[in-house]
Symmetry: C2
Subunit: 274 residues, 2 copies
């Protein structure tokens, strides 16, 4: 009996930590909703009930994971922000401010837990109010300090423009953090956003230019080609070429896929003969 006693594979690793590690990895890979507590605990090598014993609920586990993993990032950011170099006129060096903002976010602490970076990027696009509040409470303060530092570095930049460009910056940042693999696919593997130093070496000077570039850039000079598509879709896309599917009558003659488009043809209907 007694299953396997203790295994002693990782002696000092407490159950809590194993759960948090597994949650970080699995939540980042598949999303919070898609991960069941059973696969989580089995992946962590702990008992199912351990989650409720140590955290109370799945949601509480996520909150604990997030606040714990975020703390070093925010702290590092504030440290970097405090030691930003100054221009002769006393203003912060813009590149240093941007790096203080980006480096901790992209590196995710000193550990190899690159997976939390992905989790954060994923949660950043969530529209769930609870998730938004967690992100706000965790990162807004230090983000506001970064924004204030940028404003200090560029006193002539209108506040609204600063916010717009900051929005585009965090877009590029989160998309890099998410590691969607899209640009690897498009570039044939030549571009690797997983390399933090390579990302910073490009993102920092690029957005330093973006922020510095005054509002001089023509507002929207382009006469703009056209604004509506000429495609004549009726109400949604196609008229109604693809009929649903035969309800009864599974005649064997039309066994192959109809022809509608290119469906995955997942054997649309078993239609057992019984």
């Amino acid at each position: 009996m007694a299953t396997v006693r203790k295994q002693a594979s990782t002696p000092g690793a407490a159950t809590r930590e194993r759960i948090l590690d597994a949650a970080r990895d699995l939540f980042a890979e598949h999303g919070v909703q898609a991960v069941s507590l059973r696969e989580l605990t089995s992946h962590a090598g702990v008992n199912l009930a351990a989650i409720h014993y140590h955290f109370g609920s799945k949601e509480a586990l996520l909150a604990e994971l997030f606040s714990r993993s975020s703390q070093p990032i925010v702290q590092w950011r504030l440290e970097l922000l405090a030691k930003v170099r100054r221009e002769p006129d006393g203003r912060p060096v813009l590149e240093d401010v941007l790096e203080a903002f980006l480096r901790p976010a992209l590196s995710s602490g000193r550990r190899q837990n690159a997976t939390f970076v992905r989790l954060r990027a994923r949660l950043a696009l969530e529209r769930n109010e609870a998730t938004r509040r967690i992100l706000r409470d965790t990162f807004d303060e230090s983000s506001q300090e970064v924004i204030a530092a940028i404003a200090e570095a560029l006193p002539d930049l209108p506040e609204l423009e600063l916010y717009w460009r900051f929005h585009f910056l965090i877009g590029s940042m989160f998309y890099t953090m998410a590691d969607s693999g899209r640009i690897q696919s498009l570039s044939g593997g030549k571009c690797d956003p997983g390399n933090v130093e390579e990302v910073l070496a490009r993102l920092v000077p690029i957005f330093a230019n973006v922020f510095r570039e005054g509002c001089n850039a023509a507002p929207v000079a382009a006469p703009s080609p056209l604004r509506e598509p000429t495609v004549e879709t009726n109400a949604a896309g196609e008229p109604s070429p693809a009929k649903p599917r035969k309800a009864k009558l599974n005649e064997a003659k039309s066994g192959a896929a109809k022809s509608s488009a290119a469906k995955p043809s997942k054997t649309r209907r078993p239609a057992r003969t019984s």
Copy 2:
């Protein structure tokens, strides 16, 4: 009997379309996994089984929804790309190329279905292989045409740099499309990424500058402050200040929250007296 006959609220609206509309809205708002077929059908005002009758499965519904909604976007993009203005030397106008790329994505066809834009942004961060393939199959071809047009407009820009900057561009684009509300929160509501024209008026010239700006921007001139956080977290964050929670023995004396950190205190354990 016969429940309610037909209701005739929207006479011509077929069941298929009601399902697709509801799926678009709900998937975009809460994510695919988080939406059950029951809330979907009840939101659409159709029977639960209608989804399997018309589409076969939840996954097939998503694929159908995506391909149908994407088609006008891609088509519009290709049309705009075909009528991009040319410089006197015959090269494409970079701003027009960027607008051809961005406008259809941000506008989502001619309809008011801004929700599909959010759905697409959400799926873009998904790491699910099936989802990635859908996105690749749908958008890669037209994206490659955009990349080729940019390369044609900027023949001196190294290919690798082009891909990096395109990566940052689609990051800003997707984050704008996701409408996470973060920049509204940070800017106190002054910045509204939901306004497509306002986004384009800023994003197009900004990234035109980004692409045009040669590799002259100092590679990474910054001596870079420090690269590791000084915070001394052991293994994960905190030593072990917050004890789990009492297992048995729900003594009434310590009824209030322990003090650990600032937990949501969701009544960690009911511990019914029975």
